[in-house]
């Protein structure tokens, strides 16, 4: 439990988000382009971080379905910035996993002419888990 509380603090610190500012209008979720792909939606992220339900979020696939388009950040009338919260939770999840990310040494083997370099970099950052 204390671990989750620590993670919650960490998420809030990294993101700079204050979930208490949320007035539950759902505009973030209304605006989200990957809504159908996601198990938890932007407003649920905000609500669950506020109530301390971090565990399911860290395990959720939704973290990696978020396109980081930041439409929710742009549209939120209260300046809550749910997108930054998702980013922060993803970061915490990635840090937790630690060792099983791809390393810089793995990259040359993955490179071929077909593969865009951007994709490798992105994978380096978030998909390899």
């Amino acid at each position: 439990m204390a671990d989750m509380e620590r993670k919650r603090e960490q998420i809030l610190r990294i993101s700079g988000v204050n979930p208490r500012k949320c007035m539950r209008c759902g505009k973030c979720t209304a605006t989200c382009p990957s809504y159908d792909e996601m198990e938890y939606h932007p407003h649920e992220f905000v609500y669950m971080v506020e109530t301390g339900e971090i565990e399911p979020l860290l395990k959720s696939e939704s973290l990696y379905k978020c396109l980081s388009c930041m439409a929710c950040v742009e549209r939120c009338p209260r300046g809550v910035e749910p997108g930054k919260l998702v980013e922060a939770i993803r970061l915490v999840a990635v840090r937790e996993k630690g060792g099983d990310r791809i390393t810089a040494n793995d990259i040359p083997a993955l490179l071929d002419d077909e593969m865009p370099q951007q994709a490798i970099v992105t994978a380096f950052r978030k998909y390899q888990k």
Partner: protein, 664 residues
């Protein structure tokens, strides 16, 4: 030499709980000039005031120090007590040992110490007090109402009803304001025009009321009871007293492509126009930005068709100067601009409209004669989406919207939704809401009727995006209760735009020295107890200039403001503030520095003859303060290089004595 009485109040335990009142009383009893000192449970009570009165008689007191709550609370009370006992009310000083001592300091020792010091400062000041007599100023028995909407109209009618003359200044060509643009009013569904236009006619026919339409206030000078106001009457190029309002010119004018602001630009009017059929005054106005005659000198059609000969192309702006005793601000509101809300595609699609535009679309006098038709193609919309809280309840740092709830949107949206379903049952109506706020008589019942009887789909959630696709508007929204993202193909999207104070309010507030909050709403003198008065004496507030309001609330506030104005105008004389600046003519060197810093122009210079010791006379230029105009800020006292200027009641010596007492 003063004979001072000190009265220390316990205020129940409010003061006595932290401050040793007996010690304060004893310590102050030893101060210079103090001949009597006591303490009592409640000094402001009848018994407490009697103690003061008796002490004044018994000890022949000339001055009083009351150690009690803030002077803002009971200074007047104790001044009246002193006056009743026969000493000058300005011989009373209050030491604030409650708000600024016992309530903020928990420690009895330091609290008592501070209370004694504050008491000493007050005693030191009273030692130097002199009796003051407030001057009297006459009251100009005429009121000015700025803004001719329903707030201004109601205020003016109520003041006129009490027999006082009133002038309404309205910047548009007609009075009526926003209410004239509305179709129906919630929750009774009366037709807005049917209840407003009789009031407008009442205003026009009331011989106590003058309407300055198409006019603006450009300067306000003076003070309560005696305001000098300059009103700019913009040139309307039509003689107001000659025009009969027949409207022939407005039909013949060849310039047909002027966006009609009364219909929010959804149709066009001519360059010479009467805003709407029931306009008051019913007089045409030429729009100088579009009139060919005014711009190029070639046309003159209106002057040819006008049988009354009312057209005057050479008209100039005129300035009227008038005196008023009281000013009522009723400048009203406007919907905020939707330009920054790209997600709703307001500027991309004609079929995304604001609620006020929707009012015009459903109004029988509107651009579609009351038929609900899409602005883009004139077809009947089958799916309508209403979006609530657009620009309301935003983050305080938001650049797009406002932090406050606009208060009226929930109700008018319920009205729009209900009326649409009533008139066009084949229409699907969706309302996206964050919260439905319906506090008010019969308000929640009204909203429930929209849902239960008229089958309006209320969905808890917000619209995230509106994208025009062909003839349709794709609305992407969230349904938070079902946990779904909705995609609706809509024909019309109506945005409940936040409302903001009219832009003219800010410069007006500066002219009136009336304060505003960060949202440019006027602040009231007290949020609960003086809600229709501004902190500036003689300036009153009516309607949405003070905060978002619906019509019933506006009308009741308008009546309340009128009652306050009548209360002021009933008086023949106002007693002024006797704490005014005063110049010592023997010390004045005539430098004019004080005249330059005075914000009220209360100081003038006169040439005066002085007798010299050798019996000759010499003429010197000296400052003179108009005590009726001086408000007593004391700016001149500091500016005066020779120390001739002083402020009664807050004299340099008195404040110095307070400093000395505190730093002893």
């Amino acid at each position: 030499m003063q004979r001072i009485g000190v009265f220390v109040c316990h205020c129940g335990t409010n003061i006595a709980g932290t401050v040793d009142v007996a010690a304060v009383s004893e310590s102050l009893g030893k101060e210079q000039g103090v001949v009597f000192s006591t303490h009592y449970q409640y000094m402001c009570s009848q018994a407490g005031q009697d103690i003061i009165k008796n002490a004044i008689a018994e000890y022949k007191l000339t001055g009083i120090v009351v150690c009690s709550c803030s002077p803002r609370m009971h200074e007047t009370t104790f001044r009246k007590t002193a006056a009743a006992a026969g000493i000058n009310p300005y011989m009373v000083e209050i030491a604030n040992i409650r708000e600024q001592c016992s309530w903020v300091h928990k420690d009895t020792i330091s609290g008592t110490e501070k209370a004694i010091i504050l008491g000493k400062a007050a005693v030191a000041k009273v030692n130097l007090n002199a009796p003051l007599t407030p001057g009297e100023t006459p009251v100009t028995k005429r009121a000015l109402v700025i803004g001719g909407g329903i707030a201004g109209i109601q205020t003016a009618l109520d003041i006129a009803d009490a027999g006082f003359p009133v002038d309404i200044v309205e910047k548009k060509p007609t009075i009526g304001g926003k209410m004239a643009q509305l179709d129906k009013t919630f929750p009774t569904l009366d037709c807005a025009a049917c209840i407003l236009t009789p009031k407008m006619v009442d205003v026009a026919q009331n011989d106590k009321i003058r309407i300055f339409s198409y006019s603006e206030v450009t300067s306000v000078k003076g003070f309560v009871g005696n305001f000098d106001v300059t009103i700019k009457r913009k040139a309307r190029y039509v003689k107001e007293d000659v025009c009969t309002g027949c409207g022939a010119c407005t039909e013949k004018c060849p310039q047909k492509k002027v966006p009609n602001e009364f219909n929010l630009g959804m149709d066009n009017r001519r360059a010479i126009y009467i805003p709407f059929a029931q306009a008051v005054p019913k007089v045409a106005t030429i729009d100088p930005d579009y009139c060919m005659m005014l711009k190029t000198g070639k046309c003159g059609v209106c002057s040819k068709v006008c049988t009354a000969g009312a057209i005057d192309y050479k008209a100039k702006d005129e300035y009227v100067e008038e005196k008023y005793g009281a000013i009522v601000v009723a400048t009203g509101f406007n919907p905020i601009s939707m330009d920054k809300f790209d997600e709703f595609a307001y500027s991309q699609s004609k079929d995304v409209i604001t609620s006020l535009e929707f009012e015009r679309l459903t109004n029988a006098a509107g651009p579609t004669q009351g038929k609900l038709l899409r602005p883009s193609d004139g077809e009947h919309p089958h799916t309508i989406v209403f979006v609530q809280c657009v620009g309301s309840r935003c983050d305080s740092c938001s650049e797009k919207g406002k932090e406050y709830c606009s208060k009226i949107c929930c109700m008018y949206t319920a009205k729009h939704a209900m009326l649409t379903r009533d008139k066009y049952p084949d229409t699907d109506v969706y309302v996206f809401y964050i919260d439905v706020r319906t506090p008010g008589k019969n308000f929640d019942e009204f909203y429930r009727r929209a849902v239960e009887e008229y089958g309006v789909h209320y969905i808890k959630g917000m619209v995230g995006k509106v994208s025009p696709e062909g003839k349709k508007l794709m609305v992407q929204a969230s349904d938070l209760i079902a946990g779904k993202q909705l995609h609706i193909e809509a024909d019309l999207v109506v945005l409940a735009a936040a409302i903001e104070p009219d832009k003219s309010a800010r410069p007006l507030a500066t002219m009136l020295t009336a304060s505003m909050d960060t949202n440019d709403f006027f602040t009231e003198a007290h949020p609960k107890l003086r809600p229709v008065e501004s902190p500036t004496a003689g300036v009153f507030l009516s309607g949405a200039c003070q905060g978002p309001k619906d019509i019933p609330e506006t009308v009741s506030q308008a009546g309340a403001a009128a009652a306050k104005v009548i209360g002021l105008l009933c008086k023949d004389k106002l007693t002024g503030n006797p704490c005014v600046a005063h110049s010592d003519e023997m010390m004045c060197n005539g430098c004019s520095t004080c005249e330059k810093v005075c914000p009220y122009g209360a100081i003038t210079y006169v040439d005066k003859e002085f007798r010299m010791p050798d019996r000759t006379t010499r003429v010197r230029r000296v400052a003179q303060v108009n005590e009726a105009v001086c408000q007593g800020c004391g700016c001149c006292t500091v500016a005066c290089p020779s120390g001739a200027m002083d402020l009664k009641g807050f004299a340099g010596k008195q404040i110095m004595a307070e400093v000395d007492a505190i730093c002893r």
